[in-house]
Amino acid sequence: MSVIGVVSMKGGVGKTSVTANLAAAMARVLGPRRVSVVDLDPQNAMRWHFGLDGSSSAGGCNQSLDGKPWNHAVLATAFDVTCLPYGEADETEREAYESLLAREPDWISTQLQRARLDRDAVVLIDTPPGPSVYLKQVLACADLVLIVLLADASSYATIPAMESWLHEMAAISARSKCAYVLNQVDRTDPLNRDVTALLQKHLGARLVPIHIHRDEAVGEALAFQQPVLIYAPHGQASHDLARLAGWVIDTLNR
């Protein structure tokens, strides 16, 4: 079982859409029943990317608080990806969950073990932005950590914080590989272009060579509750995500 954590220091970079679309792209390559997505973001937005029914309130949060395994709350989607939403949780439930995670630093990895997934299964975990208890746990158990950035100045400004965070976590997660993913790259926008070049120079090999281009289709796909690969298969964003999936698979295999 390979675990991919998708993180970011800043909100609004498109983490959830990258996670969902990447999962769909990998499911295209790997086949059905191999890719799963775990949503640890209290926003609970992952389910909309797959057109899941919003009526059910079960999710990782509730299941954990009730001491039940996660398998019961996992939902199948039409896109060969199984999704575990965060679940509808009010403020007290969320705080209880987070204090549970703070008390037991291996909770997430234990739950993943309990799920008894196949050896060749891939789990993508979406986290809320910024330093949080979810991030700590994911960093501890992930084989590959993808840090999503936008090509703008504020993303560039968060890199030092991320680096120091990763450095602290290096003791715990010595085995995980980290890579930065640039989202919404647009050459026609001068600032975007310049920051992309700056990030390429600054991050060098730590930046994934495949950037995800800005494409209206990504937003529209969410509006249609589909992954962008299904909605606009010939768009550049779909193309980039397909290549990113290939890159992730190669990196995990190495």
Partner: protein, 712 residues
């Protein structure tokens, strides 16, 4: 793209750490101090000190030339000199360079003297004839390198003459740019260079001389403010048009800039002063960049695609129109004008020297260049050197076929034993390599020059032979030369590689024959195993490299066609993107293959990005038409420049070369089980010697040496 750049690209591609310096910087130490003391003594200012010392040195050289050592003696002699050279070459400074050159001169002269006197067969047997031919070939090469040394040691000093202060007295200048056969981008470049010349604008007029009238070029000329003269005759020669234009224009001076490159900004400032000062001056010739740094150190650049004369001429019009040119076939028009002027009694000056001319053999035969033009001795040497270099293919082919004379035909071209030959030849090569490396510096690596010259050997050999015999054939030369620009002509490729393949096969046969010789390795045939067989192997390697270059040329031509399909992205005004492919990449009227059919209005502005590797290049474009799934767009003017630069950069294949070179372990040619022990032994020896050095340094001997050092 020189070897060092290719090596660094290869290293980057295989993720090897970059070497900060390929070569250690030169040391400055005791030898330099001694050299300075030697050159700055007051002894040199004594009367006749210099001539006497020169004569004495020359006598010493001649005497040392002719000393016949035994094999052991020669070995000891070479070792001493070689050791000294290897030690001294680490130091910088002109005196050290001269020392190295002198040693190379001595060793090579000794080698050649010995070859001519002791290794040739007797009488007029085939041994003697072929051996003599080989000796002459070696002498040719040596003469070439000696002239190169001379040229490096006594470079020509350039003079200038200042213009008068009042600009009203400055002459009007017409600039002629012969542009037949040039594409628009080149014309644009040359025009802008011509207009960038530093000369009062009202006294400068630019004329573009074209072989056939072209509308696009006419518009380009108008946009610059130049005059466009398109002739309807299809003569491919610039001199014809120049002659016709001379009678049509009225500037006082005429500057003719032929060739693909244009002169520096202050060209007119530097040269017109001579005309003002000396009213009888008819013509001034210079190489393209008379005051620019000369990149060519040992071998002049002669590439098949370069046009003939990379020279400029500036003439006084009144004197030139007095004669007509009855030989329109001559391709080096400046030479011709100079000839005629001289005949008419006008003066012709020469700044700099033209070592870069392809048909120099032409000039040699027809115009007796060495005798007619008044030139100083350096220019004569330079002309001689360029002639020798032009005939270089002949000795090169002699070298390729010499071992075959023995291996396949049994002719003893070198009659000596291997030990003596090694004792004479090794210092010849070693010192030659050191001296050439010293002069060439960072711009030429030894073997690459060989490969390149070998590639050019066949290309130049035919024209060489013909042009000496018949001058009219030079017209065919001009046609062939312009034909060479057309890269799609496959027959040219065959012409280039077939003779090499033949000689390579012959060399392989020779290798096999030599190894199958029943007397090998003992008996009289021992010399062939130590001389001719390794020689064959070297030939095989050089020829293989040559064929690889020809193959790469073919690969490049194919790649050009493949490059037209590049991954691209279309960005629509609505923000949607489409991943597509280009069909004809470097063209301005780009057509894209779309994966789906869609509707876009004609004339709408879309952005197209081309992906090359990890790079993305975006250009604003305008939709021209959409037929089915093929979208035609036109790149906007504002981005046209950048687009053409990107196209040229991608097509130049620079970063592709490392992919073409062998893989990540190419810098470890030995297998691990062989390389590792050698490596570790070498390392152990190094540490041992270091430890030894430390021990001695700490002992009483070391302390004594230290004390001596501090005192001095």
């Amino acid at each position: 793209m020189n070897p060092k750049v290719v090596l660094s690209l290869w290293r980057a591609r295989w993720d090897k750490t970059a070497d900060t310096a390929f070569k250690r910087p030169y040391l400055q130490g005791k030898p330099n101090a001694w050299g300075r003391r030697l050159t700055h003594t007051g002894l040199w200012s004594l009367p006749a000190a210099v001539p006497i010392t020169s004569l004495a040195s020359l006598a010493l050289l001649l005497w040392m030339l002719s000393i016949q050592f035994s094999q052991g003696g020669q070995l000891a002699f070479s070792l001493v000199f070689a050791g000294f050279a290897v030690y001294i070459r680490r130091y910088g400074g002109t005196l050290v360079t001269l020392t190295l050159l002198g040693m190379s001169l001595l060793m090579s002269a000794r080698y050649l003297y010995w070859r001519f006197t002791s290794t040739l067969g007797s009488g007029f047997s085939s041994d003697f004839v072929l051996g003599f031919g080989l000796c002459v070939a070696e002498f040719h090469l040596w003469a070439l390198s000696v002239l190169g040394f001379v040229h490096k040691v006594w470079p020509l000093q350039h003079a200038s003459s200042r213009l008068p202060a009042e600009q009203d007295t400055w002459p009007t200048v017409d600039v002629y740019l012969p542009i037949q056969g040039c594409d628009l981008a080149t014309i644009l470049q040359r025009c802008s260079n011509a207009f960038a010349l530093d000369w009062p604008r009202e006294k400068l007029q630019v004329f573009l001389l074209d072989g056939e009238p072209r509308d696009a070029a006419m518009d380009l000329a108008a946009s610059f403010g130049a005059t466009y003269i398109g002739y309807v005759d299809k003569a491919s020669d610039a001199s014809v048009h120049v002659n016709q234009a001379l009678s049509q224009t009225d500037g006082e001076l005429v500057a003719i800039f032929d060739g693909n490159r244009s002169p520096e900004k202050n060209f007119l400032q530097m040269t017109a002063g001579w005309f003002v000062r000396d009213q009888s001056l008819g013509m001034l010739r210079t190489p393209q960049n008379p005051l620019g740094a000369e990149v060519v150190t040992s071998n002049p650049p002669l590439l098949p695609s370069m046009t003939s004369s990379i020279s400029c001429a500036i003439v006084r019009r009144s004197m030139v129109v007095e004669f007509d040119d009855e030989k329109p076939g001559m391709t080096n028009l400046s030479e011709h004008i100079a000839r005629k002027l001289h005949v008419l009694g006008f003066g012709s000056g020469y700044i700099g020297f033209n070592t870069n001319r392809i048909p120099s053999a032409d000039i040699f035969r027809v115009d007796q260049q060495l005798s007619s033009t008044p030139q100083i001795w350096q220019q004569r040497f330079a002309a001689l050197r360029s002639m020798l270099h032009f005939y270089l293919p002949i000795p090169r082919w002699v070298f390729f076929t010499a071992p075959l004379a023995y291996l396949l035909a049994g002719v003893h071209v070198i009659q000596t034993n291997p030990g003596l030959l090694a004792a004479y030849a090794v210092p010849h090569f070693l010192h030659g390599y050191i001296a050439k490396g010293r002069l060439g510096g960072s711009k030429r690596l030894a073997l690459w020059a060989d490969v390149r010259d070998t590639v050019l050997g066949w290309y130049m050999l035919l024209p060489t032979t013909f042009s000496v015999v018949r001058t009219e054939i030079s017209q065919t030369l001009a046609a062939i030369r312009t034909g060479f620009k057309d890269q799609s002509r496959e027959p040219f490729h065959w012409t280039l590689s077939l003779p090499y393949s033949i000689v390579l096969l012959l060399n392989l046969f020779g290798l096999v024959a030599g190894m199958a010789n029943p007397q090998w390795p003992q008996g009289n045939a021992s010399i062939d195993s130590t001389l001719y067989l390794p020689w064959c192997v070297c030939n095989v390697m050089l020829l293989a490299a040559t064929l690889a270059v020809a193959e790469e040329g073919r690969h490049i031509r194919q790649q050009t066609r493949k490059l037209s399909r590049m991954p691209a992205m279309l960005q629509l005004p609505s923000g949607h993107t489409l991943s597509c492919e280009t069909e004809n990449f470097p063209e301005t009227a780009l057509s894209l293959l779309l994966p789906i059919s869609m509707h876009i209005d004609n004339g709408s502005e879309v952005n197209v990005s081309i992906f090359c590797g990890l790079q993305e290049y975006g250009f604003p474009t305008r939709v021209v038409s959409l037929e089915g799934s093929v979208l035609s767009v036109r790149i906007d003017e504002s981005a046209l420049d950048r687009y053409q630069n990107v196209g040229a950069a991608i097509l130049s294949r620079g970063p592709d070369w490392p992919g073409w070179l062998p893989g990540p372990n190419a810098d470890h040619p030995l297998p691990k089980w062989l390389g590792k022990p050698i490596d570790s032994t070498w390392l152990k020896m190094k540490t041992l010697s270091e430890k030894l050095g430390n021990t001695i340094g700490r002992s009483w001997l070391g302390r004594w040496i230290q004390k001596r050092k501090i005192q001095t």
